[in-house]
Amino acid sequence: MVTEDPAAPLLQMQGIVKHFPGAKALDGVDLDVRAGEVHCLLGQNGAGKSTLIKVLAGAHQPTAGTIRLDGDEIAFPHPDTALEHGVATMYQELDVVDGLTVAENIYLGHELASAGFTLRRSAAQRTRQLMDRLGHPEISPHREVGSLSAAGKQIVSMARALSRDARVIVMDEPSAVLDSGEVDNLFRVVDELTEQGIAIVYISHRLEEIRRIGDRITVLKDGVTVGRNLDVSTTATDELIKLMTGKNVEYAFPERPGVPDDAPVRLEVTDLALADVFSDVSLTVRAGEIVGLAGLVGSGRSEILETIYGARRATRGRVELDGKSLRRGSVGAAVAADIGLAPEERKSQGLLLDEPVYRNVTLSSFARIARGGWLDERAERSAAAEQAAALELRPNDVERPIRTLSGGNQQKVMLARWLVHGCEVLLLDEPTRGVDVGARSEIYDLVRRLADAGTAVLVVSSEIPEVLGLSDRVLVVSDGQVVHEGPAEQIDEHQVLDMVMEGSVA
């Protein structure tokens, strides 16, 4: 139900330009959002989506351009002002404070207080209401947010946006850390909100989500609006992808050539267990095989990978590579044995954000790059540049600090690290989280090429279609137990969901 004239935009952004020192993130972007609609913002990694909504939120000051709310021109010099005008934002980088409780996080900046003293009881009460509304009554208002999973934090972030008297709620890739059950929940809330006439700006790289809830689409490319006022129901996927990438991309998974029966077992995991997280995990990955781990967020898949890798010390069990046992709890031993891990949280677990690309690429390969502890920077650069070219890194410049790369390109750097090192076993945790369509298919192709070259690959992903599409064999994990194992062709998304469905976000 839309309350006002549906055509009159509630929010209008015109000619937004934003320059960062040395980089133009936005170069004239237009966006108009109507009350009660879900307006989707599409674009490749680095297209400027997050920058645009940060301008809208008052977190960045635009170099040029105007913002109108209800037709009145308005400026948001601080995040505060935007919030006061009813523009609430869920940011892409989780914006919660670990040391505060759920209720305190939700009311941060607009605390319920009298004379400076916080009113904890009413804050808790309202938080409970918000959590009920979001379908998570089990998250207590007094729980410390640091103890929540990424999905739980995303829910707190959403509750915070709801706690503001918002007319426009901006969601920057909210589903990236959510699994399908959670996404359903999210969409139910979005429906509720739009019925109240609240406008939603929704950013996601998953086109199927946009098909489900979107009304209209704006497409950004290189900081410019290239598609506006596109109707979700009538715009073809090919067309969207073409707008975003400027070319036709096959949005499909690579062929599965099939693993020959005599392929040797590269990685063998026997009865692996980590106290309180998972137990009795046994699996094998053969040379040239891609094995997927499917499951809900929080089911323990990341821990399985990290334990195999030695980043966590297994309480029980064995990990063997080509028949040789690996030392327990030693990443060094795993790396020396040519096992590589591309971790789940690229930024916090994988990259040195201020260091240039080439140093990130060679970080695990000193044994190859250095002689007697002395680095050969030229060799480093050329090794990195070679991989950058092969992976079509954009921009193809290995001197650039990683921080300035988009998510998809950062992920490519992570892969390049293990390509330079040369891996027999590659462990990939959420390899396409926050990665745009174009880069996604490149990553799929790359993984497949690696497998074809004889690498054993173990992939974790929360997007079930991705696991099913990419892997040769799938293991379904629920609550720390492997509940199913079988070829990927013989199982579909619904069956997987049925197997894992009694999980929880918190």
Partner: protein, 350 residues
């Protein structure tokens, strides 16, 4: 052996553990949000009790007496008040190295001939006001340089440390200024209900600090700024202004400490507070406040301060050579932190 036992025990309990784990992520089941802090403080309390036990075993009644308790508390009072302010600073992820030398400056400024003469006319409020104002102003200067000048706190407050000591020397002309102001002395010296007045002040400041940190928007924002500065900014908090206030608060507690020190020693001197900064920071950090910011505990700070004060007391009661004292002190600091961690870990594992 014991590992085997633990893991098999865990296996038996796995269903419950997982169920509980789902709600509280591996914390002890049934404890609310505060439990983490409480458990960490348990380790500290254990360290303090251990120290007291040693004190009792070696010192007997000389240690375990009411008088001695008051001595320890008086000893802890000045450091303690300043440590309360420092807890806020460290919770924001900052540091304030200037507290020691500012303590000297406030005592000097509040006890100049001019101030004391004015106090003879208008009462002790002049001296107290002077100390508080000087502390607050210096703290705000720190805050402005750090928040608006983007100078890293370590350097900004180190500069203040050096400068304030110089200023104090200039003002005092390197002499010790004796407090001879009856209204000040009667108000702040001596006991109230058998407890030294400066200990009362410490108690009041600690309680006020606890409420400020845990029950007010100011305190919650302090945690937010330290825990995730960008998130705090995006939530609409004026981070810079808040940082300025926090350093101002630290300066203010130094001012209060200055008044207390004047009352206790009866003299203002530019040498007051020499090396105090390290002791205060150590007490706060041993107390469990994270140096990287985002978590602060007033209770922990108070216990931390008491541990250091008790340590000094036990040493002197046992008439220990001062060099040996230092070696022992170093070892005990590390031991206390390790003990605290052990508790924290065990609570997680259990």
């Amino acid at each position: 052996m014991s590992e085997q036992q633990t893991s098999s025990g865990a296996a038996t309990h796995t269903p419950t553990a997982r169920a509980g784990g789902r709600r509280t992520r591996g914390r002890l089941p049934g404890l609310s949000g505060l439990s983490g802090a409480t458990v960490r403080n348990l380790g500290l309390v254990a360290a303090l009790l251990l120290l007291c036990l040693v004190g009792f075993l070696t010192g007997g009644d000389r240690f375990a007496s009411l008088t001695n308790l008051m001595i320890v508390l008086s000893l802890a009072a000045v450091t303690g008040v300043i440590a309360i302010g420092m807890t806020f600073v460290i919770t924001t992820g900052g540091i304030d190295l200037s507290v020691g030398s500012l303590l000297g400056l406030t005592t000097v400024w509040a006890s100049t001939l001019a101030t004391q003469t004015m106090a003879d006319q208008y009462g002790w409020i002049v001296m107290v006001g002077c100390a508080l104002l000087v502390g607050l102003a210096a703290g705000l200067i720190n805050g402005v340089v750090i928040a608006y000048g983007n100078v890293v706190a370590f350097i900004a407050t180190l500069a203040m440390l050096v400068a304030a000591r110089g200023l104090a020397e200039l003002i005092a002309n390197r002499r010790t200024q004796i407090v001879d102001q009856p209204s000040f002395e009667t108000t702040f010296q001596g006991d109230l209900l058998g407890v030294p007045k400066i200990v009362w002040i410490f108690v009041v400041v600690a309680v006020a600090g606890w409420f400020l940190l845990n029950r007010t928007t100011f305190g919650r924002r302090t945690v937010a700024v330290g825990g995730n500065r960008e998130a705090a900014r995006l939530a609409g908090i004026d981070v810079k202004r808040h940082l300025m206030y926090v350093y101002g608060l630290s300066g203010l507690t130094v001012g209060i400490g200055g008044v207390m020190l004047l009352a206790r020693t009866g003299a203002g001197s530019s040498t007051n507070g020499l090396l105090l900064e390290l002791e205060v920071i150590a007490a706060v950090v041993v107390g469990g406040t994270l140096l990287v910011g985002g978590r602060g505990t007033i209770v922990g700070t108070v216990i931390g301060v008491l541990i250091f004060a008790t340590l000094t007391n036990v040493f002197i009661i046992n008439n220990i050579d001062s060099s040996v004292q230092q070696i022992a002190r170093g070892a005990i600091i590390v031991a206390a932190v390790l003990l605290q961690q052990r508790f924290a870990r065990r609570s997680k594992a259990g």
